[in-house]
């Protein structure tokens, strides 16, 4: 199977270029296996990866135009020649490795931690199964970045718009019955950009490898703002 892979080494190249590799595929082969095979042919090829089972979020890449996690993308699903590029819109460090610091900054910007103002109980803070269920579809995020780097609003305003990942996280804490910083969280999302630059293009939903729905989370935040405003 033919793979066209984006290459860029800042010590050598002025701009990224595409290199063709021929890879022998096998049943059950994932894109990460193919990338490893390419690295076998050329050790200078660089990409991030680790767990190999879609939980660490290291190996997000753009394949045939879509952001995906390489380790859970079967090559049998891909049309040849397979074009593998780094995430769009992020500065390229080398080959498929991009600089994700802006993405992590947006994550940090939503205060992604549980805030509790009451004194802690001696045992656990109680939470009913129904309350806990509200976190399903939110807490599973692996910070791979597939969503935010597929979002046109994030491409245009990465400094100002939080992007789908950070907003999903914001809702994960707003939705947590144990969290006691609702007003501060909502206040911090005010303004034309941070939250409201989402134009419900829904690329994030389409690409999320964990099947999460940031657009829906953003909708919930807007609803809650509205409810509090009335």
């Amino acid at each position: 199977m033919q793979f066209l892979v984006s290459r860029f080494n800042p010590e050598r190249d002025e701009k990224p270029w595409m290199q063709t590799f021929e890879v022998e595929t096998w049943r059950g082969m994932m894109l990460r296996d193919a990338l490893l095979e390419i690295k076998r042919q050329d050790e200078s090829f660089a990409f991030r990866h680790s767990c190999g089972e879609g939980v660490c979020g290291s190996d997000g890449v753009n394949v045939n135009g879509t952001n995906r996690l390489a380790c859970i993308t079967p090559v049998s699903e891909l049309k040849a020649p397979v074009e593998v590029r780094p995430f769009p819109g992020r500065p390229i460090i080398r080959d498929l490795v991009v600089d994700m610091s802006q993405f992590y900054r947006q994550y940090r910007a939503v205060d992604p931690w549980l805030v509790r103002k009451d004194p802690m109980p001696e045992q656990e803070i109680l939470q009913s199964p129904e309350e806990r269920e509200k976190l399903d579809g939110l807490y599973e995020c692996i910070l791979c970045g597939c969503c935010s780097t597929a979002c046109p609003s994030f491409w245009w305003n990465p400094e100002k718009f939080h992007g789908p990942q950070a907003l999903l996280t914001a809702w994960r804490f707003l939705a947590d019955s144990r969290d006691q910083a609702e007003q501060e969280r909502l206040d911090a999302l005010e303004g034309p950009y941070r939250l409201f630059r989402c134009h419900t293009i829904m690329n994030c939903v389409e690409v999320c490898p964990k099947g999460l729905n940031p657009t829906k989370a953003i909708g919930h935040i807007k609803q809650l703002m509205l409810k509090n405003a009335i």
């Binding site: 010590e11 050598r12 690295k39 680790s50 109680l126 939470q127």
Partner: protein, 584 residues
């Protein structure tokens, strides 16, 4: 160019659960703390832990830390140190509450308390009925814990060096640890971090085996750094093979599947664990279940066209339980085995999973080495988590005790080191820095040679063939010979890529050196131990031998030398659990 230096009070190497929990304790003090991680923190392998963390909360049925302690001592096949085990089982309870307060989204019971499930090796009342002690966030507990700890560290403004690879510890002439030389992966530039205290929290080395549940990053970096600093590794022959990896691939299927009521069958549809462990059945200890699976396959009762795996049946649990309690493994089964576990059984076989052994520490996380007839602390050095050996797991770890270990002893290390941080920095040892730089510069050698991947593949295959579930003198002697030859070939390995920026080939070369050091520790320690205990199973010495072998192994890199030290059989406050025959 002059080497760049940075000074911190404390240096933590590794940003999994142990490193992050140590950092969190220190963040509450005035200390300046650096956390160095070769990957972005939430990529650390704690993220992959599925089933849960043990604590005798008693939320589902009566429980006590003392029963938890008994199960852990028994599970360890009486090789665990009972003072550390008592400490861990007592601390488990406040530790889990603290995690919950920090935001971990645990699954819940109807009364709002943390959900707890049954796991292997758990009992009520010192060996009685099955207990339910494993606190779970569905089957993504490690992910939930790691993200929460990272989040709380962000809140505490911990200083992270993301994507920095630790090369070596720097040690002075008195043996004190002064910090470490690290490499910024993005620029390829080395950096010296000086610290009054250093914590190794680098996790395991499962990548030393070909089929493993472990991530690409699990290459034993901290353990090998300790070895190169002259510190021995303890009980390295005890390596856990998790019974249920996806056959042929190794991805983990949590013990929680069996905890929720799933069970194993052979090609005749027989629930074979009933023969091996009449009481605990599928929830016997991991070493017992792994051996049973390998035996079924060896004796011709395996499933599939080649008869080389068994089946894990859980479809009878029903769609609802599976999607609520085990959603992650259903996904994993679909992706990697092409099987919907809610409809069909999953093909499984043991997979290399966890190192019981590691850097010897006491229950405060301090690294200790033999000195004269006793022991002494290595000044300025701590270790916690899978890279450490306290020892709470002895010869076999119970499921749910590894998340517990990293949290309890990461915290203990963070607390204990606060005293030391009031001291001054010791003077830097320039010769030590040069030695560490030499390790890095060795990879600048150019020319033709063996490839990193080639040698790594051979080494991993040899480990799998010669240091697996069943080990005989013959297999291991042959294996050790092969491994030594492969180790000798390391000097012939050359990189072709000598660029600086994000050179992953260079990182893999450094990791290969670490893997080989860890693998040798396993092979040498295993050949010497002439008994069967826990995960170390010798068909030629089928019984446990408490007279000659109830002792910890210490492996030194220098000359592949072995030493031994006694097991601590005296708990802190309760009566010791004397060795008994271990049946499930």
């Amino acid at each position: 160019m002059a080497l760049i230096k940075r000074r911190f009070d404390a240096l933590i190497i590794g940003a999994g659960g142990a490193g992050l929990n140590a950092a969190l304790q220190l963040a509450r003090t005035e200390a300046r703390v650096a956390v160095v991680s070769k990957v972005f923190p939430t990529r650390s392998h704690t993220v992959a832990a599925q089933g849960g963390v043990n604590a005798a909360l008693g939320n589902v049925m009566p429980d006590s830390w003392h029963w938890h302690m008994f199960d852990t001592v028994k599970g360890s096949d009486y090789l665990g140190d009972q003072d550390a085990i008592e400490y861990m089982c007592r601390e488990a309870i406040p530790t889990v509450y603290e995690l919950e307060h920090n935001g971990v989204p645990f699954s819940r019971l109807d009364n709002g308390k943390i959900y707890q499930r049954a796991f292997g090796g758990q009992s009520q009342n010192f060996g009685g009925a099955q207990a339910a002690r494993t606190c779970a966030a569905a089957d993504r507990t490690g992910h939930a814990i790691l993200h929460t700890l990272y989040q709380q560290n962000l809140r505490a403004r911990t200083h992270f060096f993301d994507e920095y690879f630790a090369i070596d510890l720097i040690r002075d002439d008195e043996g004190a640890i002064l910090g470490a030389l690290v490499l910024e992966i993005e620029t390829g530039e080395p950096l010296l971090i000086e610290a009054k205290a250093t914590v190794l929290a680098t996790g395991g080395f499962g990548q030393v085996f070909r089929t493993t549940s472990n991530a690409h990053i699990n290459t034993g970096d901290g353990m090998a750094m300790a070895l190169r600093a002259g510190i021995p590794l303890m009980d390295m022959e005890f390596f856990q093979f998790h019974p249920t990896g996806i056959a042929g691939k190794g991805m983990l299927i949590t013990e929680g599947v069996r905890g929720e009521g799933g069970y194993l069958i052979n090609k005749d549809g027989e629930r074979f664990m009933e023969r091996y462990a009449p009481n605990a059945k599928d929830l016997a200890s991991r070493d017992v279940v792994s051996r049973a699976i390998v035996t079924e396959v060896k004796e011709g009762r395996g499933c599939g066209p080649n008869g080389d795996y068994v089946l894990l049946k859980l479809d009878h649990l029903g769609e609802e339980i599976i999607s609520r309690r085990l959603p992650g493994i259903r996904e994993t089964g679909k992706i990697f085995a092409g099987v919907d576990a809610a409809k069909e059984p999953l093909p499984v076989f043991p997979t290399a999973h966890y190192a019981m052994g590691g850097i010897p520490t006491d229950r405060f996380g301090r690294v200790i080495t033999p000195a004269g007839t006793g022991e002494e602390v290595v000044p300025g050095l701590y270790a916690a988590g899978e890279c450490a050996c306290v020892s709470v797991h002895g010869a076999n770890r119970l499921g749910g005790n590894s998340l517990l270990d990293i949290l309890v002893f990461g915290r203990a290390a963070g607390l204990d080191m606060q005293e030391q941080l009031r001291e001054h920095h010791r003077p830097m040892n320039e010769a030590g820095v040069e030695q560490a730089m030499a390790r890095l510069e060795r990879w600048d050698q150019k020319g033709e040679g063996i490839g990193v991947r080639e040698l790594r593949d051979e080494f991993r295959k040899a480990m799998e063939d010669h240091a697996g579930v069943f080990r005989t003198e013959e297999i291991m002697t042959e294996g050790l010979q092969i491994l030594r030859e492969l180790r000798d070939k390391l000097s012939e390995v050359r990189l072709q890529d000598h660029s600086k920026v994000f050179n992953t080939a260079r990182i893999e070369a450094l990791e290969l050196e670490n893997l080989i050091d860890c693998g040798m520790a396993v092979a040498v320690s295993a050949l010497a131990r002439q008994e069967s205990r826990g995960a170390h199973s010798r068909p030629d010495y089928p019984n446990r031998d408490d007279v000659n072998w109830m002792k910890h192994t210490l492996y030194y890199r220098d000359g592949d030398r072995l030493d031994y030290k006694p097991v601590k059989t005296r708990p802190l406050t309760v009566e010791p659990f004397p060795p008994k025959e271990r049946v499930y």
